[in-house]
Amino acid sequence: MTAVIESCKLGKRYHSMWALSDCTLSIPSGHVVGLVGPNGAGKSTLLNIATGLLAPTTGTIEVLGTPPAARPAELSRVGFVAQDAPVYTALTVAEHLRVGARLNPRWDARLAHARIERLGLNLKQKAGTLSGGQRAQLALTLAIGKRPELLILDEPVARLDPLARREFLGELMEAVAEQDLSVLMSSHLVSDLERVCDYLIVLVVSRVCVAGPVEELLATHHLLSGPRRDPDQMPPGLRVISASHTGRQSTLLVRTSGQILDPAWTVSQVTLEDLALAYMKQAAIRQLEVQR
């Protein structure tokens, strides 16, 4: 399977602060990839570098096999919806579609208009007067209308109400089903992504904590609860991601490729949210230790 994004030790520094460091990823095509992490973790930085809006400080990155946005041909293969879905507030919805048509050789006018009609957007309405959800849908239509191979979305649903959120993700999934699209979207809430993503990347404090297909991650991570046990005493081949203890009980989130054979443990399913949160907590703890 070809990789849509391939990066090697990618880093971006602003003045003295590293917004992204040592980021090595190989994101396969044909997936809806979720990029999660707390605010300030470097998600936007990574996405802006992938779309060619930012130049990295160190490392390399290739998007669809070439450096990002190197030439117009590459620009036409990647669609982007930036944070807060920026649109030209003085232009009407119809004029936005015209912009899309004029600026993109592979623009599919029929598809774009069909979407707008289905969404119920008024062609003559100025984009500045649209609601947040409608703006996000307009921006998504512009990105999808150019028939990209990869769609990158920066926190697309963060500011939307639940209904708008559901409608946006529904539209996105339909495009994925219809057009064989790869998607990379970021969010600081895992719950946004759980239903739609089949590949997860967790980014905390500018570093990648974990990256992999959701199915594989859920199969190899388990929640163990049982009598109090020190994480260091766990058998090898089993990596403890997070541990919490009460007086006589321990709850551990572990990663292992094998089976849990110890009968003392009650093994339960882990949700994607638990998984991401555990990694984020672990990274935050490590960061504190480094700072000390």
């Binding site: 529904g170 539209e171 996105l172 999934m173 339909e174 994925v176 089903a177 239903r195 949700t271």
Partner: protein
């Protein structure tokens, strides 16, 4: 055509929920042989889930012999679930009604009845009886 729902908090994987709903519909007779299952993109759009999840469910149904994909047209129901319709299980239904009446007389409320049934069902499944 069947309409799918997803319970995000049930802890059951989405693709399994879809499979269960198809089987449930088949049992109740809401879905019959030859009916078309909703298109992948429509389910993905309506529920806002990854199309691969729907594909996985449909493939599993195909594997179980309950559905078949016709490329370019859609996925269609090809099998039925043994046991025919629930109506054929009259004696079982009457036994159940009697048991429910007993439970109510013992003072159990709805929640207790459900909990009692669920835990007994689970432990019985684990013992490989159900």
């Amino acid at each position: 055509m069947i309409e799918f729902r997803l319970d995000g908090r049930s802890g059951v994987a989405p693709y399994l929920q879809l499979i269960h709903q198809v089987r449930h519909a088949l049992r109740l007779g809401l879905l019959r042989e030859g009916d078309q299952l909703p298109k992948v993109k429509d389910v993905a759009a309506g529920l806002a889930i990854n199309p691969n999840t729907v594909l996985k469910a449909y493939r599993e149904l195909e594997y179980e012999g309950l559905a078949a994909a016709r490329p370019g047209i859609g996925t269609f129901v090809t099998g039925t679930l043994d046991g025919g319709s629930l109506a054929a299980h009259g004696p079982l239904r009457r036994d159940l009604q009697r048991w429910l009446a007993k439970a109510r007389r013992a003072g159990l409320d709805d929640e207790s009845i459900e909990a009692l049934f669920a835990s007994t069902f689970r432990s019985a499944s684990e013992e490989g009886i159900a």
